[in-house]
């Protein structure tokens, strides 16, 4: 480092200590381009298309507490190796754009959805599928969910990309949560627990109410199963009747993982920094307030 660089660094450190520049911890293996430096250059007068952000508006925005659960796909991935702020910003732009075309409702694993997909092979150019949401992966533009239904003696699962332009509409027929985050065990349960009528009427909840939690405990069907569901810690499953061997019993005990309940560092590593979450959700609040979208529950 030459003498000028050293001087600049010293000045910057002074600035940091005096509180003018925010402290941010940069992990050792991050990309060499510093995000705050890049942002600064983008905003400078020398750049060709300077970004103008309403800084004043940003500061006065209050993010509602449940926005973290309403818009989970906007949140960045927890692993810092998979983070790229520029890519995330561009993706969020595209997601807001798509949300102006289609209403993406609030739903959780366990809710019943009806989805209309553009299909060139169908005579009406549209196919409608109704199903129970058994999984939901939040990953920006690649957010997808799987709907499951039992039709004419066949258990059918279809995966949908939430931000795909092929999706014409997503309708929540029944909004509710389940005890588990993933309901793949329904594959080995009796079919009546996955059957949803195609002509089901949507169930409206009173405004401002909490999301109902369905505490149903589903029994497992006869073996063979896809996976050893009874050994894993699923709260939405009834305990099975099979006699567990020595190893299976140990696995069942360990699957509950009671030591992870208060594992503070594990929680910290797996969750995104609160400051990052705040900045992202503030953007969401701004962009979603500009156009008035009707949610099924709110308004």
């Amino acid at each position: 480092m030459n003498i000028i660089q050293k001087h600049i660094c010293r000045c910057l450190i002074q600035k940091c200590n005096s509180g003018n520049v925010p402290l941010s911890f940069v992990p050792a293996r991050q990309a060499t381009v510093l995000n705050w430096l890049l942002d600064k250059h983008r905003k400078s007068q020398l750049s060709q298309q300077p970004e103008k952000e309403d800084d004043i508006e940003q500061e006065t925005i209050m993010v509602p507490r449940d926005y973290k659960y309403l818009y989970p796909e906007f949140l960045p991935p927890a692993n810092y190796r998979h983070r790229d702020r520029i890519r995330e910003k561009l993706e969020r732009q595209d997601m807001f754009c798509r949300r102006t075309m289609i209403e993406v409702p609030e739903f959780y694993v366990g809710s019943i959805l009806a989805v209309n997909v553009a299909d060139t092979y169908a005579p009406s150019k549209n196919t409608r599928f109704v199903g129970l949401c058994i999984s939901r992966e939040n990953d920006g533009l690649r957010t997808n969910f799987i709907l499951r239904n039992h039709i004419d003696g066949n258990g059918i699962e279809i995966k949908y990309d939430m931000y795909s332009p092929l999706l014409q509409s997503i309708e929540v027929l029944k909004l509710e949560k389940r005890l588990d985050d993933e309901l793949f065990y329904l594959r080995d349960c009796p079919p009546e627990y996955s059957t949803i009528q195609f002509d089901m009427e949507p169930i409206h909840l009173p405004t401002g109410s909490a999301v109902p939690l369905n505490t149903i405990k589903v029994p497992l069907g006869p073996r063979p199963w896809d996976k050893k569901w009874d050994i894993k810690n699923f709260k939405g499953l009834q305990p099975s009747n099979r006699v567990l061997g020595k190893r299976a019993a140990i696995r069942l005990e360990r699957s509950a993982k009671p030591w992870e309940e208060h594992d503070l560092m594990k929680q910290y590593r797996e969750n995104i920094n609160d400051e990052d979450v705040e900045t992202v959700l503030k953007e969401v609040v701004l962009k979603t307030k500009k156009k008035s979208t009707k949610s099924q529950r709110r308004q």
Binding site: Y121, N144, I151, D152, I156, I158, Y160, S164, L166, R187
Partner: protein, 188 residues
């Protein structure tokens, strides 16, 4: 070492002297230990996931549920042979997949051994993980077809994937698919 009892059955002892046996035992144990340590380090397998077979290790892939030779299939048309197979509890087994890779996917033609007969059929539903917008079925469904190309049954009461209505399936199998689609009742 309990392993040694498996490796040295009674017959061997008659032909080898005790010295030779000890040497054999030692070298085998050494190689087994060496192999296990290499495997556990390189493959990063946790002890619970290691598959043991006479002190040796082998790794297993995920269960892919591919349709290959001797895979059992469910016939979903109303052909008498399909119904007989279902009632008898003897599902059809794939004998040949008309595919470069011997893995059958939705829309592939297969040769099935069902009730002692050889029958051709088309896969119309897979248990394998599918792409987005393509349905994944809980059973591997198949529609039987004669050598001439006409379907064996007259009606398919079960849902078929909508992607089968694509042109490429029709073009590939010279119009055989259109006959199947004509007897289908429901698409998903």
């Amino acid at each position: 070492m309990t392993g040694s009892d498996h490796i040295f059955p009674g017959k061997l002892i008659a032909y080898t002297s005790s010295l030779d046996l000890n040497l054999l035992q030692k070298t085998l144990n050494q190689t087994c230990n060496h192999f296990t340590t290499i495997c556990s380090k390189r493959l990063n397998i946790r002890e619970e996931e290691q598959c043991f077979l006479h002190n040796k290790l082998f790794s297993t892939s995920q269960c892919l549920m591919e349709l290959r030779l001797r895979s059992r299939v469910r016939v979903i048309d109303n052909s008498p042979i399909g119904k007989a197979a279902a009632t008898a509890g003897k599902p059809g087994k794939i004998m040949h997949v008309y595919n470069v890779a011997a893995v059958g996917r939705i829309g592939d033609k297969v040769m099935i051994n069902i009730m002692g007969q050889k029958k051709k059929g088309y896969i119309v539903g897979c248990r394998q993980k599918q792409k987005t917008n393509v349905p994944r079925f809980d059973t591997n469904n198949v529609v039987l077809v004669e050598d001439s190309g006409t379907p064996t049954g007259t009606r398919i009461r079960h849902p078929l994937p909508s992607c089968l209505r694509q042109k490429r399936y029709g073009e590939k199998h010279s119009g055989e698919f259109t006959k199947i689609l004509s007897i289908a009742t429901k698409f998903v």
